[in-house]
Symmetry: C2
Subunit: 159 residues, 2 copies
DNA sequence: GACAAATAATTGCATGAGCAACTATAATGC
DNA sequence: GCATTATAGTTGCTCATGCAATTATTTGTC
């Protein structure tokens, strides 16, 4: 209900397909699809690493002790728990992560990044930085990037 | 190479996993994943329509004569042409779109939105508007939304 | 005008992900 | 303390999607 007048929004019953917010949502989907697809392709070519693996390894590196529980990973990368089980299976088979038992809760499993996992992540991050240089830094100034980060954070707030 | 000093960016060889641009990229993936997942769920619940169908129908409505060629659809929704063929197969089977021959190029196929397709899209757009009201309008002001659109457009520029 | 290269769409195949059902363990209520 | 409920993770099944190969048609070249 904010600023309908100022933004000249369409009344939703007339032509919502050209509504400014519909366009914004579509633009978000589109931008994400193009960037993640092109980066995934490059990551696959240069590191033989699927994007989902990169996401997991990055989350693990960011985590306090380099490890997270299954459900935390699922939440962080926005996957189902079933999908996450299989994903971690593949990463573990490749030796990049290891499952560890949780001493205080026998239902829980810790997933920790291994040394080979860290090595591969470093390599992937080099490729990532090159990619970002080409596709992000060249298009947005530093101020614009931080503005974008702020706006996405607000949009991403759970409530 | 812009404004390294002013933004206090990490040197990439030290700790790129906490680099501001790495975080921005991750934030974009995350925001997209959460929004598209929650909207897809609602669309499925309220309209029994997959998000991919909604995307196709929206593109078709936006198109000049309510129709696009297969490769244009694939490009617009960022799918492979193979995946698009199957996707349009399902939409056609549901009666929401129709394939039409192209008189000037016999290799090409036009995909047009049908009357039932338009009806279903209207319904989906009502759900979409409600969703946007809850998840977008309540978090970003009108000015913020247009700023976000501008930034995403710049990020999305092909070159 | 014929042959080569490019383009449009479809198909076989493999795979990654979600959902729902299931097992195991922990927390809660009486 | 025991029964109920909730939580963590895995598995069977299904399905949507990408890739590479294939067919049909058009465009470009000589």
């Amino acid at each position: 209900m904010d600023c309908y007048a100022g933004c000249m929004e369409q009344v939703s019953t007339v032509c919502p397909s050209s509504d400014e917010r519909v366009a914004l949502f579509a633009l978000l989907l589109d931008t994400n699809a193009r960037l993640s697809r092109s980066f995934a392709l490059r990551l696959e070519e240069n590191c033989a690493m699927p994007l989902a693996w990169f996401e997991v390894l990055l989350q693990l590196r960011r985590a306090p002790e380099g490890r997270l529980r299954m459900n935390q990973i699922a939440e962080a990368i926005v996957h189902s728990t079933g999908g996450t089980t299989r994903l971690i299976d593949r990463l573990e088979r490749a030796g990049l992560v290891a499952r560890e038992l949780c001493p205080t809760d026998r239902r829980a499993i810790y997933v920790a990044i291994t040394t080979p996992g860290n090595v591969q992540l470093d390599e992937a991050l080099r490729v990532h930085m090159d990619y970002l240089e080409e596709h992000v830094s060249s298009r947005l100034t530093c101020d614009e990037r931080s503005a974008l980060a702020g706006l996405l954070s607000k949009l991403n707030e759970s409530r």
